[in-house]
Symmetry: C2
Subunit: 228 residues, 2 copies
């Protein structure tokens, strides 16, 4: 239950769809959710676990990933403020085990909803259903996209595309990431990432130093990400 008007406002701001809901629904929400704070690195869900709560993220981000028995891993998607892990939703509503891992990538503030309320709101609120289905569909597309990339795209192109994508978030044209972190994003291994980066560096397309990758010839990189 969230009583503090300030916290209530934060919740409304993070989840815009709530503005469109009836007054009673919002009251219902405030009554039946709890605010939690999770530290960086906190494991939210592990492979095969039963989900008991649905977290709606207010601040911070969660990372959902698959882990192979050889220790390799791949990031499937991230859960940003205003979103929730809908795989959890579907597990809750169907009673199935969660098929991946989820951790806090940064400190996370979230409101947690119990399965009973998740189901109840599915019946009572049009807006809640729209919200949940929108998330499910976009997650599905992300996961399908990952599968497509892993199966059908060359690693150098995927790597370049990822780096170019990161550039928009970053400042300047340097990306602060280790090779290991890149491997985890793309589901590859550190050695292979190093090899590919070295190849690109020898062509003058970028420059690497410990923990930093500088993109030098962005047009050429964009070209290479598209074709061969």
């Amino acid at each position: 239950m969230i009583a503090d008007p300030w916290q209530r406002q934060r919740l409304l701001d993070a989840f815009p769809f709530l503005h469109a809901t009836p007054e009673e629904f919002r009251a219902d929400v405030f009554d039946h959710v709890a605010l939690v704070r999770l530290p960086v690195g906190q494991l939210i869900c592990h492979d095969g676990a039963q989900c008991t709560q649905l977290p709606l993220v207010l601040t911070g981000t969660g990372r959902v990933y698959k882990l192979g028995e050889n220790g390799r891993e791949i990031t499937l998607y991230r859960v940003h403020p205003g979103e929730s892990c809908v795989v959890t939703t579907s597990c809750i509503l169907s009673g199935r085990a969660f098929p991946a891992f989820a951790v806090c990538e940064s400190a996370v503030e979230a409101v947690v909803v119990r399965p009973h309320e998740v189901r109840r709101w599915m019946a009572s609120s049009e807006q809640w259903r729209e919200y949940i289905f929108g998330l499910i569909a976009s997650r599905l597309q992300e996961v399908f996209g990952v599968l497509d990339a892993v199966l059908f795209q060359r690693l150098d192109q995927r790597l370049i595309a990822y780096l170019l994508g990161q550039l928009e978030t970053a400042s300047g044209r340097g990306i602060h990431m280790t090779h290991q972190a890149l491997a985890v994003e793309l589901g590859s291994s550190r050695e292979v990432i190093s090899r590919v980066l070295k190849g690109l560096e020898s062509q003058g397309l970028l420059r690497t130093t410990r923990g930093l990758i500088e993109l030098l010839d962005i047009p050429a990189l964009e070209l290479r990400a598209r074709e061969g």
Copy 2:
């Protein structure tokens, strides 16, 4: 609209959850669905398409797969009688494009539901919601499983596991499939499947002839599917 009592009964039999729904809901269903027959090989949905109807399969099976630009493909899952393609559902409810292909693997009889009804029933029927969410969760798990297999498992083990799985469906211990068909199931290429099969054959674990694979030493195959 389905008037024929015989067809109505078939629909109820194929979708057991309907038995638990109120009389009026079933009447509503009969009023708002249409029966369609699709031939083998009929393309139901292509990558990037907007879904306009939700098909609920009565007989036959559909196959949902991803296609790479190099022509390689991988089967994600099948839609059997009593099921529907929930990726379509989520696309309908969110207005997104379908991220894969779907074809009729055999002749398919299905009832099609329009988006408006899909949404309406989500609001009105507890059983419909349960049904849809159960399907979504199981599809998600299947797709996550495929991703896991592709990324983290060796092809020989995946192939053996698939063959052993097919054996349960088949008669005797022979599996009638071409190498190309196996490649499509596992997201590999024919040459590689041939190579792996040849390796297994040279170890006396199975025997291959044109279009047929006979498993000879099933315990040894089961062992190898698990470890190295």
